[in-house]
């Protein structure tokens, strides 16, 4: 725990920053001394036709082998820890009737602009707060703060996505009110965030008309995981050769169950439908 701003540091220099903690909490550095050198050799390849599946999943050594040492069956999902934390986040949010939405897109698709507009338009109707994810800077948090909305910034350092532990820390710092909406703006990236459950109730992928209409086909895993796809920047269509039907077909191809809304976060097209989608999710 950092004494200056109360942020805590997990792996790889992730920082959780509450901009409202004041200027002194904003620009201090944290150094990590992990610059050690290492070298190691690998044994030549080996066969792995040994039989497994003997039911030992309890970490007890099985099959002693003088040449190879002991084999210990683990049989667990690699992301089990993340998924456990995500479930914990989900329970915490559900108990408080908080709708958490994971917003994902490539950099520049308009996530922050859509949030700014949404916060302003829904002011007084839906209590909203935001967890911002970026590798560096408080720039997005500053934009959200300017709307009067509560925000916590997560800087992932070298990290290319948010994970459940970061969001856990972000939610603790954010302390959102019950019966509210929390937007989690993921790191701009159409690849890595798809793999990490954060505990959200819904996943939204934003794509935009200044990107290729074939994005859903190029990044199928991301679009396959979406509950809702927003096609942003439709106000620019007259100036672009973007093929809307081709984009919609690509989304349908990858994820036939995803809802799709076309909108412009700057000019306002389609926003009424987006707000209705949110209202439906929040419930009465």
């Amino acid at each position: 725990m950092c004494a200056t701003c109360g942020c805590s540091e997990g792996a790889a220099g992730v920082r959780v920053i509450d901009p409202s903690a004041g200027a002194t909490g904003r620009d201090h550095g944290h150094s990590h001394d992990d610059g050690h050198s290492h070298g190691h050799s690998h044994e030549p390849g080996h066969g792995h036709g040994r039989s497994h599946g003997d039911g030992h999943g309890d970490g007890q050594p099985v099959a002693p082998d003088p040449d190879r040492g002991h084999t210990i069956a683990l049989e667990q999902r690699v992301l089990a820890r993340n998924d456990e934390l995500a479930e914990r986040n989900r329970r915490w949010l559900t108990e408080r009737a908080i709708l958490a939405v994971n917003l994902m897109s490539s950099p520049g698709a308009g996530k922050t602009t859509l949030l700014e507009r949404t916060i302003v338009d829904l002011a007084g109707e839906l209590p909203v707060s935001v967890v911002e994810g970026d590798q560096e800077t408080l720039l997005d948090a500053d934009r959200i703060t300017a709307t009067g909305c509560r925000v916590v910034q997560i800087n992932t350092g070298s990290g290319c996505h948010l994970d459940a532990e970061m969001v856990d820390r972000g939610l603790r710092a954010l302390a959102p009110p019950e019966r509210s909406v929390v937007f989690i703006e993921n790191v701009g990236n159409l690849v890595c965030p798809a793999l990490f459950d954060l505990g959200e109730a819904a996943r939204i992928v934003i794509t935009s008309t200044t990107e290729g209409a074939d994005k859903p086909l190029k990044y199928p895993q991301m679009f396959a995981a979406a509950d809702l796809v927003l096609l942003n920047k439709v106000d620019l269509l007259p100036y672009l050769s973007f093929d809307v039907p081709a984009c919609l077909a690509a989304i349908q191809r990858v994820n036939p169950r995803a809802a799709v809304l076309e909108l412009s976060a700057t000019r306002g097209d389609g926003l009424a439908s987006w707000y209705d989608w949110l209202r439906d999710r929040v419930g009465p």
């Binding site: 970490g59 084999t71 683990l74 049989e75 820890r81 191809r253």
Partner: protein
């Protein structure tokens, strides 16, 4: 480069089970539709294991084929493509398998 986070999860899970016991091989199952690139995983494994009881351990990656089911005709088939086409011509294919990311076992000295 989520493979670094993936390998860090592998190292953490192994250490949680085995503590400081030196490990010389980690065998993982990586589905071909998991979004994880085996070569990137190997590269990151070297970085993530440095200074840990897994340093120098071999990473044995067992690929698992993807599996799809056609929503139109119901046929099931192996595929390594997220955008698989069914033989019936339908592109409406549900991914059933191939997303596995599992630590199967480790070998200790």
């Amino acid at each position: 480069m989520h493979e670094l986070a993936i390998t860090e999860s592998i190292v953490a899970a192994v250490r949680e089970k085995l503590g400081g016991t030196p490990v010389r091989l980690v065998r993982v199952e990586v589905g071909r539709l998991s979004g994880v690139v085996p070569d990137a995983l190997r590269f990151c494994f070297e970085v993530a294991t440095a200074g840990t009881p897994l340093e120098g351990a071999e990473l044995d990656i067992i690929g698992q084929p993807g599996r799809g089911r056609c929503r139109d005709c119901g046929a099931e088939f192996d595929t390594d493509d997220w955008l698989a086409l069914c033989d019936c011509g339908s592109a409406d294919v549900e991914v059933l398998g191939g997303r596995e990311l599992r630590i199967r076992e480790v070998e200790v000295v």
